[in-house]
């Protein structure tokens, strides 16, 4: 059974990583998960300078999922390079650094700073709905996406994954823009923008009013978008949105994802990634797949 996947020239030992922001820098989960077993670790988003994030409450439970408006709190790229990258290097797994910013220049600074760091890939989060509330995120406009991707590609030394927001009319348009800009891969979906009102307190559940919806409830939309994107572009896709079991992960792979990320499910069961990896292998055995790559996109 061959679980290896090749994502834009980077060989992962299996197709399972974690969704940015749901796994800290990896360290927080190291007591629960053998980090060596993961195909890759995707870190929380990091910006050029430290960000304090949004006021609390920042998280809320909703039926079958959650909402967050963390607001991309992060320690800034300098401390991140000093502390978090060396920590992850101790493990035999690929390192994907998720990058965020308010404006192109902020992204560039982080990408430049990371150029000579021992990381394997970068994931560019152009889709956080919680920053610059009131404005549409970069990632909702195809022209922005193509330009930003192209500009980042000029300075990046590692393969670039553009992470797409699902809050768009036509995901294929955005996926194609990322590809046209030279993205090495795309990942999707980021969170769906939602709202929860506490009818007893007559106020919003989140201080930020809106937040990003994640967890099992977003899976049907996520699978659809991965499928559509897979039929629109020729670069690999990292699929995510509600994956909580091997079955969920396989659904994304059959729809066209070359790899998958597990997010919110880590909060319900910190060891879920191990179960997902083992479950994919069991499915391959049962269904006669030699290579996990042979499963990608076979449901058309």
């Amino acid at each position: 059974m061959n679980m290896n996947v090749n994502i834009a020239g980077v060989k992962w030992k299996n197709p399972v990583t974690v969704a940015s922001g749901t796994f800290g820098s990896g360290e927080e989960f190291s007591e629960f998960v053998d980090l060596n077993k993961l195909g890759a670790i995707t870190t929380k988003g990091v910006a050029d300078v430290p960000w304090a994030g949004n006021p609390t409450p920042r998280v809320a439970e909703v039926y079958g999922g959650m909402m967050n408006a963390i607001g991309l709190q992060n320690p800034g790229i300098d401390l991140f390079c000093e502390r978090d990258i060396p920590y992850l290097q101790k493990y035999d797994t690929k390192i994907i650094v998720n990058v965020c910013g308010h404006a192109p220049e902020e992204y560039f600074r982080v990408v430049e700073r990371l150029a000579d760091e021992p990381i394997d890939m970068m994931e560019i989060n152009i889709s956080c709905p919680n920053v610059n509330a009131g404005f549409l995120a970069f990632g909702q406009d195809a022209k922005n996406v193509e330009k930003l991707t192209a500009d980042i590609k000029k300075i990046a030394k590692q393969p670039i994954i553009m992470k797409l927001t699902p809050n768009v009319t036509d995901i294929t348009e955005i996926a194609k823009a990322a590809e046209a800009g030279g993205a090495d891969a795309i990942s999707l979906i980021n969170t769906l923008t939602g709202m929860k009102i506490d009818i007893n307190r007559k106020t919003f559940a989140l201080a930020n009013k809106t937040g990003g919806v994640s967890g099992p409830i977003v899976k049907p939309v996520a699978v659809r978008m991965v499928y559509q994107a897979a039929h629109a572009v020729n670069i690999p896709i990292i699929g995510m949105g509600g994956i909580a079991s091997a079955e969920d992960a396989i659904e994304f792979i059959l729809a066209g994802a070359s790899a998958v990320s597990v997010g919110t499910a880590n909060f319900h069961n910190p060891a879920v990634t191990m179960e997902v990896i083992d479950g994919i292998e069991a499915y391959m055995k049962k269904n006669g797949f030699e290579n996990v790559a042979d499963m990608v996109g076979i449901v058309e």
Binding site: G24, E31, V59, M66, L79, T264, H268
Partner: protein
Amino acid sequence: MADKKKEQAMVVSQEQIADGIFSMWIHTEAAQSARPGQFISMYTKDATKLLPRPISICEINKEDSRLRVVYRVTGENTGTEEFSKLKTGDAIPIIGPLGNGFPFEAAEGKKVFLMGGGIGVPPILELAKQMKCDKKQIVVGYRDAQTFLKEEFEQNGELYISTENGSVGTTGNVMDAIRENGLEADMIYACGPTPMLRAIKQYAEEHKIVCYISLEERMACGIGACLGCVCKTKEKDAHSNVCNKRICKDGPVFLATEVEI
């Protein structure tokens, strides 16, 4: 490494000890390393409720590997309502112990206030049990005559009670109880609603005494990864590199002077 896990704890016993307040003993490995002021994440079996319910440890029994939690049922169709229906022998998924706990060792030789309010009262019990100090003054506030855990507190220190409706002890809140009884201390440990903690923090500042408070916030991971549960700090925090600390991981107990509440 990878030695912690979500475990299926087992309900040893459960009883209702006041209106909507339940006390549950569970059998769990978590008891071995638990400290007063730490909490556990309790999970519901309702497949639509995914996030943990953080509940403070109220008592620790290492010998029998048991923890006690005392919690309020917050409404219908809530996770806590589900917990309240568990019976002896039922499984309950938990992670823990989590958080830092009260640094009760620092109280040695001191005159101490152990203060709890409302559903912040339970963690004060194990704290009172483990604390060795010169003068152990337990000051707890309730809404009414349903002064749950009163007997246990009486066995573990000098007990002062306040009730909002005046039915037991001092009428008013815990600060009123301190004033009314002319109490003094050179150290405070407290857990309760934010307005109470604010008043205590101010009192400690005025009296220039060391004060530890236990905070609450909505949580998603409970283990320091999601940055959902932060509180504002006075100084830049070394880990976050901003003026935020994680209540689940860096807390829930903080020096009153280091956090803004």
